[in-house]
C-alpha cells in the first residue's frame, strides 16, 4: 500500500534519512522504533508530504505522492506534539477539519465520545493540558475512517485510562485491515498492538519483520527484550 524507494533526506549537511526503502501492506500494524534522532519523524513527515525528500520516491497505492495531495484523504495523522491555533475552541477545530476534508462518508466519533471531549467543546486550545491536546489529535486522526493511520508517540502524555482507550481503538482499527504506523519508545506498550517491527538507526532501516519471527530469532518472549537483544548483539536476519 505504501512503498518507499531509496528515500534520502538531508537538512543542510546533516543526513537524516539515507537510502531508506520500505514496503507496507494493509493490515500491518508497524512499530517504528529507534533511538532519538534516527529519522523516524522525518520518515513519517515524508510520507505525509510535510518534508520534501532530497532523493527517492514514495508510492501510495502505486501512485507517486510528490506534488499530489489527494492521497492524504486516506491518511489520519496524529502528531507527536499537536499544535493548534490558540484562539480556537475544540469544537471549532473539529468543525474546521471536517469542513476542509469534506468527507461524506460516515464519521467515526467514537474517540471524541470516549475521551469526553463532547463536554469541553467550547474550551480554547491554549487552555488545554498537553494530554487533552493529545486527545484532540487522536480524535482527529481517527475521525475520517482513514485507511492508513500514522501515530507519532500516541500514548506519550496520555493518562493510563486514555492510553488504554486509544490502544483498544488501534487494535480495533487494525482488525478492520487498516495499515497503522506507530512510533514509540515504550516498547512494553507496543507488545500487544503491533504485528511488524521496523528498527531504524542513524537514518537507515536495520530490519522490517513480523514481531513473531523477531521473537523466534532472538528467542525472547517480549518485544522489549527482543529489541534489547538485537541492539546488544547487533545482528539478526
Amino acid at each position: 500500500m505504501i512503498e518507499i524507494c531509496h528515500l534520502s533526506k538531508k537538512f543542510g549537511k546533516l543526513e537524516v534519512l539515507n537510502d531508506v526503502s520500505l514496503n507496507c501492506a494493509p493490515g500491518q500494524c508497524i512499530a517504528l522504533i529507534g533511538p532519538n534522532g534516527c529519522g523516524k519523524t522525518t520518515l513519517i513527515k515524508s510520507i505525509l508530504g510535510m518534508v520534501i525528500p532530497t532523493a527517492g520516491t514514495i508510492f501510495f497505492k502505486d501512485k507517486n505522492i510528490s506534488r499530489d495531495f489527494h492521497y492524504r484523504h486516506m491518511i489520519g495523522y496524529m502528531p507527536q506534539k499537536g499544535r493548534y491555533p490558540d484562539n480556537m475552541t475544540i469544537g471549532q477545530v473539529i468543525e474546521m477539519i471536517k469542513d476542509i476534508r469534506g468527507n461524506e462518508e460516515k464519521l467515526d466519533e467514537q474517540l471524541i465520545e470516549d475521551f469526553g471531549l463532547n463536554e469541553i467543546l467550547d474550551k480554547r486550545m491554549r487552555t488545554l493540558s498537553g494530554g487533552t491536546t493529545q486527545k484532540v489529535s487522536a480524535s482527529l486522526a481517527f475521525l475520517f475512517n482513514p485507511e492508513v493511520l500514522i501515530l507519532d508517540e500516541p500514548t506519550a502524555g496520555l493518562d493510563p485510562l486514555a492510553a488504554e482507550i486509544l490502544k483498544e481503538k488501534i487494535i480495533a482499527e487494525n482488525k478492520k485491515g487498516r495499515l497503522i504506523f506507530i512510533t514509540s519508545h515504550l516498547l512494553s506498550e507496543l507488545d500487544d498492538l503491533v504485528t511488524h517491527v521496523v528498527l531504524m538507526q542513524e537514518g537507515e532501516i536495520k530490519f522490517h519483520m513480523p514481531t513473531s519471527s523477531l521473537k523466534d530469532q532472538t528467542k525472547t518472549t517480549s518485544l522489549a527484550k527482543a529489541i534489547t537483544y538485537v541492539l546488544k548483539n547487533d545482528h539478526v536476519q
Binding site: M50, F69, R72, I97, I100
Partner: protein, 256 residues
C-alpha cells in the same frame, strides 16, 4: 467568493484587536484632517503622508507576525488533503482582504465623502495597492527566516528603507549629480520604491506637481500620459506579484 481557508482567516483577522485599532486610527486621522482643513487639497496632502507612512508599516509587520503565529495552523492544514499552494494563497487573500477592508473603512470612506470622485478613486486604489505590496513583502520576510525575531526585524528594516532611507539616498544622489541632467533617470529610480510610485500618482492627480520642480515636470510628462500611467500601475503590480510568487515558491518546497 471565498474558499474555506480564506473565510476562516478573514473571520480570525477581523476579530483581531490590532486590525481594529488600525481601522480606528485611520478613521480618526482622516476625519480630523478633513474636518480641520477647509481646502480638501491640503487635507489630501496631509492624509497622503500619514497613509503612506502607516499603511505600509501596519501591513508588513502585521502580516509577518500573523504568519509566524499561524505556524501551528499551517502545520495542521498541511497534514490534511490540501494543496500547499492553496494554503498560502488562502493566507495571502485572507490577510490582504482584511487589511484592505480596514483601510477602506478607516480612510476610504472619509476620502470618498470629502474628495472629488476621480482623486478619491486614485487615493483609495493606491492605498489598497500599497497594502497588497506590503502584505506580499511580509510573506517574503516570514518565509525567509525560521526565526521570528529575525523575520520581524527584516520586515521593519524593509519598511524603514522604503519609507525613509530610500528618499535619503535619492536626495544624496540628486545632490551628487546635480550638475548632470538626471531628471529622466529619476523616473527610473522612483520605480524602485512602491511608496514613491504611489506618491507620484497621487501628487500628479492633485496638480501640485509644480512643487516637485523640474523633476515634477518630467514626472508629469511621463506618468501623466496614458502609457505612463499604465507602466506605473504595472510596476506597482509587479511589486505585489514578484515578492508573493517568490514566497510561494519557497513555501511549496519548505520542510515543516
Amino acid at each position: 467568493m471565498f474558499n474555506k481557508i480564506q473565510r476562516f482567516i478573514v473571520a480570525d483577522i477581523l476579530k483581531n484587536r490590532i486590525v481594529l485599532a488600525y481601522t480606528l486610527l485611520l478613521a480618526v486621522l482622516s476625519w480630523s484632517v478633513f474636518s480641520l482643513e477647509d481646502d480638501s487639497h491640503k487635507g489630501i496632502l496631509t492624509l497622503l503622508n500619514i497613509v503612506l507612512l502607516t499603511t505600509p508599516l501596519v501591513s508588513i509587520i502585521f502580516t509577518t507576525i500573523y504568519l509566524y503565529n499561524s505556524a501551528e495552523f499551517i502545520e495542521l492544514l498541511l497534514s490534511q488533503p490540501i494543496r500547499r499552494r492553496k494554503i498560502w494563497n488562502g493566507l495571502f487573500f485572507g490577510l490582504f482582504f482584511s487589511l484592505a477592508l480596514a483601510f477602506f473603512i478607516g480612510a476610504g470612506i472619509p476620502i470618498v465623502l470629502f474628495v472629488p470622485v476621480q482623486t478619491a478613486l486614485i487615493l483609495v486604489v493606491m492605498g489598497i495597492l500599497i497594502t497588497a505590496v506590503f502584505v506580499a513583502l511580509g510573506f517574503l520576510c516570514a518565509i525567509l527566516s525560521r526565526d521570528k525575531a529575525r523575520g520581524i526585524g527584516v520586515a521593519i528594516l524593509l519598511w524603514l528603507f522604503f519609507s525613509l532611507l530610500f528618499d535619503g539616498l535619492v536626495l544624496f544622489l540628486l545632490f551628487q549629480f546635480s550638475d548632470y541632467p538626471i531628471e529622466k533617470a529619476m523616473v527610473g529610480v522612483s520605480a524602485l520604491n512602491p511608496i514613491d510610485l504611489a506618491r507620484i500618482f497621487i501628487i500628479l492627480q492633485l496638480d501640485v506637481s509644480a512643487m516637485l520642480g523640474y523633476t515634477g515636470a518630467i514626472f508629469k510628462d511621463f506618468f501623466g500620459t496614458v502609457a505612463g500611467t499604465g507602466i506605473g500601475f504595472a510596476l506597482l503590480c509587479m511589486w505585489i506579484i514578484v515578492p508573493y510568487l517568490a514566497s510561494l515558491r519557497m513555501f511549496v518546497r519548505k520542510d515543516l
